[in-house]
């Protein structure tokens, strides 16, 4: 069964039709990269998946459960919406860490707030908190930041901040982790450390959707690549296929443009 199925997603801003029928599905453990020129709708696709943006129509199904279907008359309570949202993790281009919290607190904040809503919170408070923190330490060591748990975001480099953001997203144990150009806001010498973390997640079969302009990275890390153009999927297949025999003229022009900076 597909972990994620997206059917015919449409989204317009006013008269500007940004998504014109996006459909794809992915399996658990798959790494899917979305590439395409600026304005083709990559960010909008991710934002519709993560419910930051409300698509006009389309169906999103996660692990067999329909989470979004506005035309089908699907109405969700706020609770259900939040639950569905947590199926997806999101790593932003601009990190969006919480500046007033330490690295550890950034990773644990949401879990702690969720824990307070649990019925057994009062009784097992100490244990619940220590479990949350233990998991956070564990995640932070996976992204190579064990030394920085007490630092504030402003004391970290961009690459370190983005790795915290990855740990923070992982802490919610999302079924699918989404990245929107995770290295675009970084100095070139800092992109490597972030890409390495994402590669290691790929090796551990974390299900991921990665929007990126790093072509060689997309090629290496992805099981599958979507090439987007003008709000549609214009190429879909393994990296070998999309970059090779499946490459349309548009795709070739796009890759040429990216390669030439």
């Amino acid at each position: 069964m597909a972990i994620l199925q997206v059917e015919n997603l449409h989204k317009s801003y006013g008269k500007n039709e940004v998504l014109r029928g996006i459909s794809f599905s992915m399996e658990e453990g798959e790494v899917l990269s979305i590439i395409g020129s600026s304005g083709s709708g990559k960010t909008t696709t991710l934002r519709c998946l993560t419910q930051l943006e409300h698509a006009d129509s389309g169906i999103i199904t996660v692990a067999g459960k329909r989470v979004f279907d506005p035309v089908g008359g699907m109405k969700l309570t706020k609770e259900e919406q939040r639950f569905n949202q947590l199926q997806f993790g999101m790593v932003f281009q601009q990190f969006n860490l919480f500046p007033q919290y330490t690295v550890l607190e950034n990773v644990t904040l949401a879990s702690k707030l969720h824990a307070k809503e649990r019925g057994d919170y009062k009784a097992n408070k100490k244990q619940i908190i220590s479990e949350i923190e233990e998991r956070a330490y564990d995640l932070l060591s996976r992204v190579g930041l064990s030394e920085k748990t007490g630092s504030y975001p402003c004391q970290l480099s961009g690459g370190q901040q983005q790795r915290v953001a990855i740990a923070r997203a992982l802490a919610m144990q999302p079924k699918i982790l989404c990245f929107d150009e995770p290295t675009s806001a970084l100095d070139p010498e800092l992109t490597g450390e972030v890409l390495k973390v994402i590669s290691s997640l790929a090796e551990q079969h974390t299900t991921m959707i990665i929007v990126t302009h790093e072509m060689s990275f997309a090629r290496d890390v992805s099981d599958r690549i979507l090439f987007m153009e003008k709000g549609q999927i214009a190429g879909d297949g393994t990296p070998e296929y999309v970059f090779g025999e499946g490459a349309t003229d548009r795709m070739k022009a796009f890759i040429g443009a990216v390669a030439n900076g």
Binding site: T50, Q51, L52, K78, R82, F83, Q85, L86, F88, G89, M90, F92, Q94, N96, L97, F98, P99, Q100, L109, A110, L113, H114, Y152, P153, C154, R168, A169, M172
Partner: protein
């Protein structure tokens, strides 16, 4: 003589402080209400243009209050009700109403600036982590807003200390009024100069407190 003047001025300054404290007590929350009013998106769309009556109303109100002198507002609130036959408000009440409304409008703009300066990404990060809107506001956004508004609020609040002296135009016996009565009745002008020391000491205290607060919040950048 010096001591009796000092004691008298202290009494006057007591009234100054009372005006100051009560104005803050009312203006701080009222400012928040006006701020939410101006940011309210409730309304309708006409030919692609969004019209938000609550917001527009609040903005016009803020414009009027910020665009006219506090002195004038004070006089309108004190003498206005008499003109339409309601009768005068007690002096202190009139002063407090005028001050609270005036400062609330200035505060509301500071609050609004602070809230609007928080990047959308902070709200979105909270949302994708499954936090509710109020959790995001109280646990993520609020402290960042406070950090940003502390310096302008400090300025505004120190201005308020000095603005309290306007109350004397409707004969509220604050410190300047007390000093003035020395000039009128005893021909003494130095008590008036002396009042400066009271203001200076108090605003130095406030400056110090706001400096401490700013420093306390300087551990993070936002």
């Amino acid at each position: 003589m010096f001591w009796s003047v000092t004691l008298d001025l202290l009494k006057g300054f007591g009234m100054t402080l009372e005006l100051f404290a009560l104005t803050l007590l009312f203006a701080l929350p009222l400012g928040l209400i006006i701020c939410f009013g101006t940011m309210n998106r409730l309304g309708f769309t006409v030919r692609g243009k969004r019209i938000c009556p609550i917001s527009s109303l609040c903005k016009v109100f803020v414009w009027i209050i910020r665009g006219t002198p506090l002195m004038l507002q004070l006089i309108v609130i004190y003498y206005g009700p008499g003109l339409i036959g309601i009768g005068l408000l007690p002096r202190l009440t009139a002063v407090l109403i005028a001050f609270a409304i005036n400062y609330a409008c200035y505060f509301s703009e500071i609050y609004r600036g602070g809230i609007e300066s928080i990047p959308q990404g902070q709200y979105e990060a909270g949302q994708v982590l499954g936090m509710t809107k109020s959790q995001t506001f109280f646990h993520v956004v609020l402290l960042q807003v406070i950090k940003r508004i502390v310096p302008p609020m400090g300025n505004e609040i120190i201005t308020l200390v000095k603005d309290t002296s306007l109350a004397r135009v409707i004969a509220v016996y604050e410190i300047i009024w007390t000093a003035q009565s020395y000039a009128k009745m005893h021909g003494l002008i130095w008590p008036m100069f002396y009042t400066g020391a009271f203001y200076l000491i108090f605003s130095a205290l406030l400056t110090f407190l706001f400096g401490r607060l700013e420093k306390k919040l300087s551990y993070f950048k936002a």
